[in-house]
Amino acid sequence: MDSPAAQPSQADLALHDYWKRLLKIITSYRLAAVVLGLLTALTLLGTLNQIDESIYHTQKKYFESFIVVDMVNWFPVVLPGGYLLMAILFVNMLAGTLIKIRKNWKGLGLYIAHFGILLLIVSAAVTKHFAKEGNMALRPGMEGNEVLSFHDWQMDIIPVDENGKASEALVIPFKDLKDIGWEGERTFTSKDLPFDLVVKRFAMNSQPIPASAPIAEQSDGEVVDGFKLLNKPMEKEAERNVAGAYVEFVPKGEGEKQEAIIFAHLGGNFIKRTPYPVEMGGKTYGVQLSRERMEVPFTLRVDEFIFDKYAGVATAKNYQSNVTKIEDGEEESVIIKMNEPLRHRGFTFFQASFGPSADSPPEELYPVFQVVRNPSDHWPQISMWIVMAGLLFHLVLKLLQYLNKPSRKATATA
């Protein structure tokens, strides 16, 4: 095989042929067209699905999935999911662009445009896998650096000393909880704890119910302290889900194991949580499920929240938070308002909402920031400039070609 003169064997030829054919399919316009057509259909169905289901679930089911199996009215739908289609499109586009597009200045515009779109898909993937988001609510005068997740939960085990003072909690992150499910269980152990913690029956949306209540029959969970946990279907607004789980505290040494139902509280930063108390090995611990938290490497203080309405009507004119950013002892005044977020050290703070409710007196209102950490924050912008440059170049080129075509001149003057 080393010698260029050597003849390839029959098998090599077949293999070569096989690869060639595969490459041909991968780079084909037809594959692109089929994927684009399916994506159009998927987008339509994913839009109509939002009439009945939350955007969060639609997104999971249609756009972030590998395969979609659903009923639209009575019509069964089986389609490749958005994630899979995007991945195929990416490969098809990358290979197709490299191989198919003419490698001269006539193809330049298309080259540029396709790479712009590739960057856009990459940035979508980066956002999906690496972006973190949550919210931060602060009353005027309050400081904070903790961001609460919208949908994810964590379990905290908080050691409490004899004076009732809590020290730093041990945290079970969401990624270790979410796949336990209603039927599964997982044991967590730590050298700092006198017990092993068994989490079983983890429900994303749940409700504790007195075992005597008729509705308790709907739950196949065990009765603990006269209560059962009901595993409920997900809410239409995903933020309203309340996670819950059965847990067991199994002592490492002597002693009886203890059982409990732990369930989360809805509510933002201002809700005082009451963790479930456990005594074991002569020590007290509080256990709770809470919104997963993320820390920002600096502190924000809300100085003032302004909510302007138009004269005499309820239409909002302006939401604005005057805040102070505190970092290494240095203070800086910043304004966060609609369309003008604060971007700092990879985090972006958006004026997203306010509380407690729209008809509260203005002095009680407080801002709620959406906080996002997204490494590909600005990539779509870059990709748009690339695509625009490429398409414009190509279109102008086509137009010039068209105008210089002899046949057109003939028909135009005829």
Binding site: S28, R30, P380
Partner: protein, 657 residues
């Protein structure tokens, strides 16, 4: 509360119109029309308040009046002047349009025996048993039903509609009640006189006194009971006369003007200079109201009030849009451009009969001229709309229709210049005509929708409004132009028009393909820009919101067309079918998704949308039927095994023009 307010006025059992009607002198109407006021969150001339309100109440902009055996036709401004300053006429005007007489029966009005299209306030509500209260109760029940997401039947919807209209009317009429001679506190004194001498009270104190009842007013001696009554009336006035904001406030930073209601509050809760400040303003209004019977005196009082407000507002720099609005109000429903484009369409349609002969050419030029005038009128109106609020020309769904109309004409004329086949021209007048007709249709179907509302916080960015909104709307526009061009190909082929002219049909295909490319550029860039804007305001580039999805579908389908053509999956017929499908997708994304009632972009203006869409899609189904027929006629083999689509062999890619 507002319904209570009007009951403070004396009741004329025989409606005053029976005795005759005295129209307002023209010069007074003109002066009043251009007086600035704040209504629905924005400074505007009274003329706009009048037109919008009468349109909302009755679906019309003029009012016919029969009085003393004569017929009068009132402009909206004259109507509003009656509502505000001559309430006995205002209540006798048949201002309320009611489509279904059963509504009148259900609220137990005395008019239940008389079936009509329009009723006056007095006709509806002058009745023992109180039909006004009945309407309020029913509206409350139905509103609750709606909040519980229960479905309302047609009649219930109509009752709610009437309740809304009545509250609009009462909101307007109520603003003047406190300063009207008949509406005063039933004393010898006017409101301003009364407020001069009253002790300083805050609103909580007033509410407390009213809750305590007249017995608690002993401290005021014999006057106690009458003081209680006055306070009660004053409180009703205070609570319900904030529909119009008449005067700029004292604080230069504050943009909320003062209503009669807030002036009452200021006078009541303050003393000395500040109280006088409020009373001075109330006196201006009182003078206007008191002189309504004497036109000369009225004009004097009106001018005094108008000059005062205009000067104060100008000093604050708040009247920048007023002149533009008066100019815009000459044709606020865009009748001019609509008619010009209809003429342009008729001319170009006739020109087809003459093909490319000389008369045909003249007709085509005539069509361009008519369309051009229509375009200029439309552009002028859009310019005014933009100046009125100081925002880019497209901020809501209604305005997209105007923009696509204007853009469609420009696209058409530019393509016509290059192609000279009259197809682009035809499309360039059909699209604007359809858009303007639809805009009007939707406006009539949603009479309560303000097409120039104050802009919600997130939209307040001219940078994004011009970049994202205009680009994406141009994308819609180009795609629709392309879809229309494809109709020419399919209909021409189906009807076997000039089938021998292969070059001609090939040319249309090239044109459609080129326009699809344009549509892609604008839709793609516009969609990504929308994402970037979303990333600035909400922190996420993409959220699979229905409107975002709609835009994405356009982009994906356009890309599908291009790649399917490159891959040889579709040829000429297929391309045109796909382009027409693109048109269907665009209409869905443009206003269909808004009507789904979910997502961030689902704003009002929805009545009639689905009907229009289904009519359009049904027509397009017929066109698709034609396409299938063409396919069967020209290539009977192709349909047998759908070989055209499933043929696995590599096809020679057709090079697009």
């Amino acid at each position: 509360m507002k319904s209570k307010l009007l009951s403070l006025l004396p009741i004329f059992l025989l409606t005053s119109l029976a005795m005759g009607y005295e129209p307002w002198p023209e010069d007074i109407v003109d002066q009043f029309a251009s007086t600035p006021v704040i209504h629905n969150g924005r400074i505007k001339p009274f003329q706009t308040v009048a037109t919008d309100s009468l349109f909302e109440l009755s679906g019309r902009t003029k009012l016919e009046v029969q009085a003393g055996g004569k017929d009068y036709k009132l402009t909206a401004t004259e109507w509003l002047m009656d509502v505000l300053f001559r309430p006995e006429y205002g209540r006798a005007h048949q201002s309320f349009g009611i489509d279904d007489h059963d509504v009148v029966v259900r609220i137990e009005s005395m008019m239940k025996q008389k079936k009509r299209d329009r009723y006056s306030y007095d006709e509806l509500f002058l009745e023992t048993g109180n039909p006004r209260r009945k309407l309020g109760e029913l509206a409350g029940i139905y509103q609750q039903k709606r909040q519980n997401e229960e479905k309302l039947d047609y009649l219930e919807e109509q009752v709610l509609l009437l309740a809304k209209r009545v509250s609009v009317y009462e909101g307007l009429a109520g603003t003047m009640v406190p300063v009207q001679p008949e509406g005063n506190l039933s004393l010898d004194t006017s409101l301003s006189e009364f407020l001069k001498d009253i002790p300083t009270l805050n609103m909580q104190q007033v509410e407390g006194m009213l809750r305590a009842g007249p017995e608690a007013m002993q401290a005021f001696g014999e006057q106690g009971a009458s003081f209680y009554r006055m306070l009660e009336r004053l409180y009703i006035m205070y609570r319900s006369s904030d529909g119009l904001l008449f005067f700029p406030p004292e604080d230069p930073e504050n943009h909320t003007w003062e209503s009669t209601s807030s002036l009452i509050e200021i006078a009541l809760t303050s003393e000395g200079e500040q109280r006088q400040w409020a009373i001075d303003r109330l006196v201006l209004l009182e003078n206007v109201a008191a002189s309504a019977g004497d036109f000369d005196a009225f004009k004097g009082a009106l001018m005094e009030y108008k000059t005062f407000v205009t000067n104060a507002a100008e000093k604050r720099g708040e009247l920048s849009g007023l002149d533009a609005e008066m100019a815009f109000n000459k044709d606020p429903f865009l009748m001019g451009p609509r008619i010009m484009f209809i003429f342009a369409f008729i001319l170009v349609a006739i020109s087809w009969a003459f093909a490319f002969s000389r008369p045909g050419k003249y007709l085509a030029w005539g069509s361009i001229a008519m369309g051009g005038i229509g375009f200029l009128l439309l552009a002028q109106a859009m310019y005014y709309r933009s100046v009125i609020r100081g925002w880019a020309p497209v901020t809501n769904l209604y305005e997209t229709f105007l923009f696509i109309a204007a853009g469609g004409f420009l696209f058409g004329v530019i393509f016509e210049y290059f192609t000279k086949k009259r197809i682009a021209l035809s499309v360039g007048v059909i699209l604007p005509m359809t858009c303007l007709l639809l805009a009007n249709l939707f406006r009539e179907a949603n009479p309560s929708e303000d097409t120039l509302p104050p802009l919600v916080a997130v939209l307040r960015s001219n940078f994004w409004l011009t970049t994202h909104v205009l680009t994406i709307t141009l994308g819609y526009c180009a795609g629709l132009v392309g879809a229309l061009v494809s109709h020419f190909w399919i209909v021409g082929q189906a009807l076997k028009i000039n089938l021998k002219e292969k070059q001609f049909y090939k040319f249309i295909t090239g044109m459609a393909y080129g326009i699809v490319l344009f549509s892609l550029l604008f839709s793609l860039v516009g969609t990504v820009l929308g994402g970037i804007w979303a990333n600035y305001s909400w922190g996420r580039f993409w959220g699979w919101d229905p409107k975002e999805n709609g835009a994405l579908m356009i982009v994906l389908w356009t890309l599908f067309i291009l790649h399917a053509r490159l891959g040889g999956m579709i040829k000429d017929l297929g391309l045109h079918v796909c382009t027409i499908l693109l048109g269907c997708i665009i209409t869905f994304s443009w206003f269909g998704v808004n009507a789904l009632g979910v997502g961030l972009h689902s704003y009002g203006f929805l009545g009639g949308v689905w009907r229009a869409l289904f009519i359009f899609w049904t027509i397009e189904l017929v066109v698709f039927g034609m396409a299938v027929w063409i396919k069967m006629r020209d290539n009977p083999e192709a349909l047998k095994g759908m070989q055209g689509l499933l043929d696995k062999g590599p096809k020679k890619a057709e090079k697009p023009e």
